[in-house]
Symmetry: C2
């Protein structure tokens, strides 16, 4: 057994227990509201997915009514189960935000989707305890930050070897956020963290299936359960993150203590390196290329019938994960450069309405996909696996060519979405649940969450009246 | 990413889906009934533990009534939650059975407690679907066998590095046993296994706390949830055990395919290497030494006041895990040779009544513990870490000495408990719930489980009438 420093659990519980709303810097408060708006929108976008519908059937067969809302519906259930349903919906469309990496070797940071588990858990518990807007935001902030710093500190092998960090680490956002709202003592919070360490789960073998969004929902649910058991007096090891049989060793083989000790809120991950909001409901690695093509289309008013072909050059860091050259359904299309670029040429947008099985199989779309060619570029490859660069070249029928390099996209911290873009995304996500004026009221309420005496002021605007 | 053979999920689902009661050999049927008797008794022994009480409080706050019984109570809840409560109770006293190892390197096999997750899950689902005794036994058998063969096949690093196999692997007993009772199709069963692979959890940092029995309960609960979600159409990867991001790679780093492929029911683990039933509610590594001392006490009618001291010699494989030389409470006493041997000298028994905080702190017991000395024995150590040998020597005040070597104990397959011993254990375990005549009726019903038209014939005898 390897030796290991201790104090990781203590560090986390001290931060969570001590955090007060007044300590959260104003720019972080704004970022939290941005995550809240995007997170609720994305939950609403997933309400009608098959996986969400099955989860709701299961929940309704197994429980009575409770105090907490399943967003987008008129169903109220106990907090843990509302967290489950909202967590699954929030990850169902692959449309939720993404934590960035603090360093080239921290690739997994790039791949944790932090808002969904933190939001699904804290919103449900906030509703149960009638929290104020500020109490909710504080708990959401605490959970979110703990989650991001654990993801930054654990050995990247955690993700590389096959754990799905949104599930395995998201649970700590849920457990600590719920502990905060339930007013747990320090000792109870330590127990909540310890129980969560024993419930952390989710493997990448299930990517591409309904079980991927289930990871996010189960993380939210199990974090709430961990906090509630601790509140009832359930005991775990007070240092369950530490030592040879603790979370970091068992799940990652290691932890970089310097990325956790003294780093919670210092600076907040929301400030550095930031979190990126997805402009398209698909794998984030395709987004820079998509934005570059959309820019070319708009700048040159490119019409689909004028295009001979599109050539995309990139390294294997992009080409390998986005591997469906001939996608057959919506889930494959989310990881297909052929689809993502073809649909932009045809519709100048790639939103929820485009990522549908019937669109993917539309003969016009299939024909256009045959004109999208991807090439492995050795020059780009040689810049290293952490350089997310692609070059998009449009070859027109008339011989003209337009070309653009892409290394970032709208929604990334260096190119944040405008307020209008964020609100448009929310309205589009909520379309199956809210009409435009209802969405606008919800947006307004969310932007003033810190002034609410009761979180129901938001929840009531994103559920359906009985 | 390492390459990996596939077919492990398929192997499991084919066995589970195809198993028929008539195929189960008669000696295995008898062993299953023995596990059932011991398992139900052990569940009843844990009903009044603090962890069980908290779990029941949590369950009752979060659900309505259901069809399935929490044993030892008059509470009925949905199947998954009955599985949770009964699973926690079954592991609460460290009194449930232990899988043996098939080979010296398979140390983890020794440390999985197979009956609790398999029984807690299948009994609850059997009650929900009004299964016959044979249908229940078939599902219990399928889950039990799958669990043991996964534990045998996964790289032992799984346990060594800190996973708690009773939780992490117990979930597959629960998922497949529940799938069998729910009548899932092959495809649905594959989905249940895949969902379970993403819910597998439990780390050893929480040993010595309430969260250890929670692992067994959560495994039972989550296995049932996995099967029920699959029944509702939830999708997972059909080969989630296989490949670089699959269960075996993520959780163990490896799998010995030859210990799984073609090995399910061939032979049954219950036949070879067998499962040992615990005679004492404490760490199994102390049992041989305890039995050896008890034999000496009985053979020579040793009275506590005549004993000067006891010397126990062993290797670190025994001394290291049983590390509490001066235990302060019941949980530490369960892993203390000083307590386990002292209490036998004082009471000639070490049952549920002895493993109590007040007994551990009794001045007479504390005084006797100071006379128990443990020594590391280099000769024993040199025989290898898989040789579980100890030498117990009693030094009498009058100068006489009595000595015995111990390498096995009652309850192990080479020295099975007699029917009378098994029934005595059941009656003692059930004491807080059933009087002697009620226990005898339960024992009778369990021994004829295969003749029951409805599993309620057993359940009704181990619950409390409303």
């Amino acid at each position: 057994m390897e030796d290991s420093k201790v104090g990781l659990t203590t560090e986390i519980l001290t931060f969570v227990h001590g955090l007060k709303y007044e300590q959260i810097p104003e720019n972080i408060q704004l970022e939290l509201k941005r995550c809240l708006l995007d997170g609720i929108g994305v939950i609403l976008s997933g309400v009608h997915s098959s996986c969400s519908q099955i989860i709701r059937s299961f929940i309704q067969e197994n429980t009575n009514r409770g105090a907490c809302s399943i967003l987008g519906t008129n169903i109220n259930v106990p907090a843990a189960l509302a967290a489950l349903a909202n967590g699954v919906a929030g990850h169902a469309e692959d449309f939720d935000d993404t934590q960035l990496s603090t360093a080239p070797d921290r690739i997994y940071g790039l791949l944790t989707h932090p808002t969904t588990p933190a939001l699904a858990a804290t919103l449900a518990v906030a509703e149960e305890v009638n929290a104020t807007g500020k109490e909710f935001l504080t708990a959401f902030c605490a959970g979110f930050e703990v989650e991001c710093k654990i993801a930054d500190a654990i050995n990247p092998n955690h993700y590389v070897k096959g754990n799905h960090s949104t599930g395995t680490i998201g649970i700590f956002a849920a457990a600590t956020g719920a502990a905060k709202l339930l007013g747990l003592t320090e000792q109870e919070t330590a127990n909540a963290i310890g129980i969560a360490a024993s419930k952390s789960a989710g493997i990448r073998a299930n990517f591409g299936t309904m079980t991927k969004p289930y990871h996010a929902g189960a993380a939210a649910e199990n974090g709430v359960i961990s906090a509630k058991l601790a509140q009832l007096g359930y005991i775990a090891d007070p240092n369950a993150m530490d030592g040879p049989w603790g979370f970091f060793q068992v799940k990652g083989g290691d932890c970089d203590h310097d990325r956790l000790l003294g780093k919670l809120g210092n600076p907040y991950t929301l400030e550095h390196p930031g979190v990126s909001v997805k402009p398209y409901p698909c794998g984030s690695l395709s987004h820079p290329s998509m934005d570059a093509l959309l820019d070319l289309i708009n700048e040159h008013d490119i019409k689909p019938e004028e295009v001979d072909n599109v050539q995309l050059r990139a390294g294997n860091n992009i080409l390998f994960p986005l591997r469906y050259t001939n996608p057959q359904n919506e889930l494959e299309a989310k990881f297909s450069l052929q689809f993502c670029l073809a649909i932009l040429l045809l519709r100048r947008q790639a939103g929820l309405k485009e990522f549908k099985d019937e669109v993917v199989r539309d003969p016009k779309v299939c024909e256009m996909m045959t004109r999208i060619h991807t090439y492995h570029d050795q020059d780009i490859e040689s810049q290293g696996s952490t350089r997310m660069l692609s070059i998009v070249k449009v070859q027109m029928n008339n011989g003209e060519t337009f070309q653009k390099e892409a290394s970032t996209s709208r929604g990334q911290p260096d190119r944040p979405m405008t307020r209008a873009e964020l609100e448009d995304k929310f309205i589009s996500c909520a379309e199956g649940v809210l009409d435009r004026s209802e969405s606008e009221k919800a947006i307004q309420a969310i932007s003033e969450v810190d002034k609410l005496n009761n979180i129901s002021g938001i929840v009531s605007k994103v559920t359906i009246a009985n």
